[in-house]
Amino acid sequence: MAVRRIEVRERVMAKNDELAAAVRGRLARHSVTAFNLVSSPGSGKTLLLERTLEALGDTLRIAVVTGDVQTQNDADRLARRTGRLVQAVVTDGACHLDARQITAALDGIDLADTDLLFIENVGNLVCPASWDLGENAKIVVFSATEGEDKPLKYPKMFRESRYAVLNKMDLLPHLQFDVDQAVSMARQVQPDIEFFYTSALTGEGMAEWCAFLRRASLASSE
């Protein structure tokens, strides 16, 4: 039987990007600033968010969507720091969150009563880089206990991220971690990346981080 060829030229991520654009529109209508926190497992995203909720929860209305392969542990931890609903997405095996899950998670959040939305992505420096969730920016969190060359090993993630948080700064005296080298490697792949240096545990650098979040949230509501 004759074979005929049909031109398709359709982007594989088109459906996700369409949903992400709709999420972005929804957030913009309500002047909500959204950050997609991406990192390897164990970089301290959840503690960073716990401390952020403690520091800003009284002045900013913060919503959180967490993504994990299994368990709602992170959402439970965060829920103890806020009176607001923390939406947990259990991906059940999937290595990243996609815009479909965020669309559904937003249905449970009162966006009119929200200033700032954090999406705590699945701990993974590879896959979440490929999925736009409708956020204002991705923020890559990495910690001083990881190698300085994380940005070179996972360039797509750093290229997609507008900001980087270097966490666990309190451990520097015990580690052979060269901060300048880490920053310079990150700038090799993403020259415009802006850094924050924090220890969520001791509170170091949290004032600058929180000031940035306040500014970002104000910028959206103007």
Binding site: M1, A2, V3, R4, R5, I6, E7, V8, R9, E10, R11, V12, M13, A14, K15, N16, A94, C95, H96, D98, N124, V126, C127, A129, S130, K156
Partner: protein, 84 residues
């Protein structure tokens, strides 16, 4: 690591074309995958191979072309349905 998600998305694009354009049997699915698309070629080919060998495709194959940049798209379908 997310090649199966990508492969499933490819399948849903193919199925949509089959449905809306009433296409017959799909024998080949052409793709372009950029070297910065964050996709492991061999892994994607493996996933597509498994999915395209099963119903409703049965014996379709994937033709994956490596290109520059972060392109990730379905480029063409080959169908056998007696039409020209």
């Amino acid at each position: 690591m997310h090649e199966m998600s990508v492969a499933l998305e490819v399948l849903s694009i193919v199925e949509q074309h089959v449905g809306t354009e009433s296409l017959g049997t799909v024998s080949k699915v052409g793709l372009e995958v950029g070297d910065e698309a964050g996709v492991v070629l061999e892994s994607l080919e493996f996933c597509l191979g498994v999915l395209l060998a099963a119903a409703p495709f049965d014996s379709a194959t994937a033709d994956v072309e490596r290109v520059d940049g972060d392109t990730l798209r379905v480029t063409y379908l080959e169908v056998e349905d007696g039409r020209t």
